[in-house]
């Protein structure tokens, strides 16, 4: 196993810190940089490192646990677990993803990123997914 992955949050961003934490950790989980059995830092420690409230981190961990990534039942430790096969996302979720992806592509286009590059990036990320 390589060095532990890092996450970063932007204190100046309008996106809430908790949401930034969930997104960042989930990315590492999906890309396999965090594997089942890995132990995440304690809520207290991660909150300290990121300079956010303990509850923000605790809530982020709970959301990841609800999504099936983490096991929070062992005392204060957050352990990465194998999720097994996940069925298709419910139909209710699709419009939400559709909207976010569309907004993201629009933002990239607005900053002048070529459509080919966007398509290549999307393919690259999609193929790196391990679970």
């Amino acid at each position: 196993m390589g060095p532990a992955p890092w996450i970063g949050i932007d204190l100046g961003s309008p996106v809430p810190a908790g949401r930034q934490i969930v997104d960042a950790i989930r990315t590492h989980l999906v890309e396999g940089e965090l594997a089942p059995g890995d132990v995440l830092p304690s809520v207290r420690r991660l909150a300290m490192e990121l300079g956010v409230h303990f509850n923000t981190v605790a809530q982020a961990y709970r959301q990841l646990a609800e999504e099936g990534w983490l096991d929070l039942k062992h005392g204060r430790r957050a352990i990465v677990i194998g999720r097994g096969a996940v069925g298709d996302a419910g139909a209710d979720k699709i419009p939400y993803f559709h909207r976010r992806l569309r907004e993201m592509v629009a933002e990239m286009r607005a900053h002048g990123v070529a459509p080919d590059s966007i398509a290549a990036e999307l393919r690259l990320f999609a193929e790196r997914l391990k679970s």
Partner: protein, 644 residues
């Protein structure tokens, strides 16, 4: 004197080096507490600012270093304070200038998702060696408990003479070790809190070094203090310890600083910084990377920080107070009134003996009585004695005053002139016993005779040791004194008595060493040179603490011859265990005056030179044990005074 300056020099040089290194210590991207672009920090602007700091601080450092050698001791603190104040001012000015180059603060904060298991415990191990040393010392004391003396020196002056004492008790013996362990444990706890309360960063090794390193000095020093009951180390052990520790500390600091200044600055919002104070209620960290200087600073928005600071302040003050108490030991003044002192029977008041240049503070102890009472003036032995003749825990004159006053006799005692005006007296080459003792004794008799409630016809002189030797001289000059009491009074020339004393010390168990014999030989030579003094030798050097004139003045004085002429009552008392003024002297008094009807002689088998009871050979160390003037002797003196 040189000792104090040398001891000051180590920390002073360290402080001066630190003051000069201060702007170089923080992170590499910082210039006087401001995050600046590299081209400013390492370009001409940064160089100019740093050079300016050094050039302006250097004169203060050089002055402080020179002053450490030549300034009067009372002003030595200025040698540290003035460059420190100058450095603070220069840092502030440079910071104000560097702000114009400040980079916009980054807003992204990062954290590793890896665990940190075992790291803290491993780092805390750095505190273990000094702690183990102190524990080992405690264990050694515990195992050798039976060998610890009842009372031992626990503090020494700059000449290595003991001036503080501790007792064989759990507190006295283990106090210094417990204190040393407490200091190390406290810095360990502090490190734990600081690590748990701050973000993982490159400051961690520096933090650990700063908190663990002191233990490596505190541990050995307190172990040495702790073992004082068993060994008294020579001063060079401390010099060696400091000499080994300080270079080690400097190497460590340089290495730690080198690793910790390279890292990026911790991201903290600019708006939360008020000068060098950080206040951010959103931030759970208790301690953050400081913007100025080196190391961490507190997040004052956290209540826990205030609590911690209060605890740190309290513990520091507590350790300092406790430390000075434990390490200084008790200055053996634990005098308690003797059983024969009846505080209800007398009162004390302050008086002044003599007038003008040499007036002396004194204490008059007066019995509660409706009729006039007899009085006694107490005259000291040799040396700069206080009014109580305090020696370690003994206050024989206070015992006498309270003991006699309890039996209806007023007692006047006062500071000896060489005690009150020691520095002035030491300059007087023509000093004689007249100035040292006799003149004040006569003035004291005059004073006591005029005090209300005192019977002026019954005022006696009591002379101890040298005071007994001078009794005939004093009685001759104070014709209104009713009589004299000689307690352990010398009958022979002082130089003869001194030689006997040193030879006795050499004859004690453990005293007969080649060095002791050499010392006695040297003393004998000195005493012979006293004997060889002739009129005209007055300009020579002081011998045995007195100028030639002092010795020459006593040449024609023989207390025995003078005493034989006295018709007033004389009481001559002697302790048989006294090794300073011995039964040899008492035999001379007895032979010369035994047949005189006005003279009463008595010796006491158990008493030493202080008229304190004891057993076996009297030793110099016996005076360290607090005791009281024998009630039998006090009863005899009181009976004799009241009978006349």
């Amino acid at each position: 004197m040189i000792g104090i300056r040398l001891l000051l020099l180590f920390p002073l040089v360290l402080i001066l080096v630190l003051l000069h290194a201060l702007p170089l210590l923080p992170k590499r991207s910082r210039l006087f507490g401001v995050d600046v672009p590299r081209e400013v920090r390492y370009g001409s602007e940064g160089g100019r600012l740093l050079r300016g700091y050094h050039v302006r601080l250097l004169p203060f450092s050089i002055m402080a270093f020179l002053a450490a050698w030549w300034a009067p001791v009372a002003w030595l603190w200025l040698t540290v304070a003035s460059p420190a104040i100058a450095a603070l001012w220069l840092l502030y000015r440079s910071h104000a200038y560097a702000v114009r180059f400040a980079l916009p603060a980054p807003s992204t904060r990062e954290a590793s998702l890896g665990g940190d298991a075992g790291g803290l415990a491993r780092r805390l191990l750095w505190f273990a060696p000094p702690l183990a040393l102190v524990t080992a010392a405690a264990l050694y004391l515990y195992l050798n408990w039976s060998r610890i003396p009842e009372r031992f020196a626990s503090h020494f002056d700059s000449h290595g003479n003991a001036n503080g004492w501790a007792f064989k008790s759990v507190r006295g013996s283990f106090g210094p070790l417990a204190l040393g362990a407490a200091i190390i444990l406290f810095s360990m706890a502090l490190y734990m809190v600081m690590e748990l309360g701050s973000r993982r960063g490159t400051q961690r090794p520096a933090m650990l070094a700063c908190l663990a390193a002191p233990g490596y000095l505190v541990g050995p020093i307190f172990a040495i203090f702790g073992l004082l009951p068993m060994f008294v180390p020579p001063v060079w052990v401390f010099v060696l310890l400091l000499g080994a520790y300080l270079p080690g500390l400097i190497v460590l600091l340089v290495r730690v600083v080198a690793t910790s200044v390279g890292g990026p600055s911790e991201v903290t919002p600019d708006s939360c910084w008020h000068g060098s104070f950080y206040y951010n209620p959103q931030d759970p960290a208790l301690f953050v990377d400081g913007r100025t200087g080196f190391g961490l600073t507190a997040n004052f928005a956290r209540r826990l920080v205030w609590l911690l600071l209060a605890i740190i302040a309290l513990v520091t003050v507590g350790l300092l107070l406790l430390g000075s108490k434990v390490l200084m030991g008790a200055p053996l003044q634990d005098w308690r009134p003797p059983a024969y002192s009846k505080p209800d029977a007398f009162s004390e008041r302050a008086v002044t003996v003599g007038t003008g240049e040499w007036k002396l503070p004194g204490t008059l102890t007066v019995p509660r009585s409706r009729t006039p009472v007899p009085g006694v003036v107490l005259i000291h032995g040799s040396g700069p004695e206080d009014r109580d003749e305090t020696i370690f825990g003994n206050k024989p004159f206070r015992d006498l005053a309270e003991g006699l006053a309890s039996q209806g006799i007023a007692v006047l005692r006062y500071e000896k002139r060489t005690k009150e005006y020691g520095a002035k007296m030491a300059q007087m080459r023509n000093l004689t016993v007249q100035d040292e003792t006799v003149a004040d004794a006569v003035a004291a008799v005059t004073l006591l005779r005029t005090q209300p409630g005192i019977d002026p016809k019954r005022v006696f002189l009591l002379g101890h040791s040298l005071g007994g030797y001078l009794m005939p001289m004093m009685l001759a000059q104070a014709p209104e004194a009713a009589g004299g009491i000689v307690v352990a009074g010398t009958a022979r020339p002082l130089e003869d008595v001194m030689l006997d004393q040193f030879e006795y010390a050499g004859s004690l168990p453990g005293g007969d060493t080649p060095e002791a014999r050499k010392q006695i030989d040297e003393l004998r030579k000195l005493l012979l040179s006293v004997k060889a003094l002739q009129p005209g030798h007055e300009d020579g050097p002081a011998i045995l603490g007195a100028w030639p004139h002092y010795w020459l003045d006593l040449r024609g004085y023989d207390p025995i011859v003078q005493a034989a002429k006295i018709t007033r009552p004389l009481l001559i008392l002697q302790g048989e265990r006294d090794y300073q003024v011995t039964m040899k002297d008492f035999a001379i008094w007895t032979t010369a005056l035994g047949g005189h009807s006005n003279v009463t002689l008595k010796s006491y088998p158990a008493l030493n030179h202080l008229f304190v009871e004891g057993q076996g050979k009297s030793m110099p160390a016996e005076y360290m044990t607090p005791g009281h003037v024998s009630s039998e002797a006090i009863g005899d003196i009181a009976g004799w005074v009241l009978a006349h």
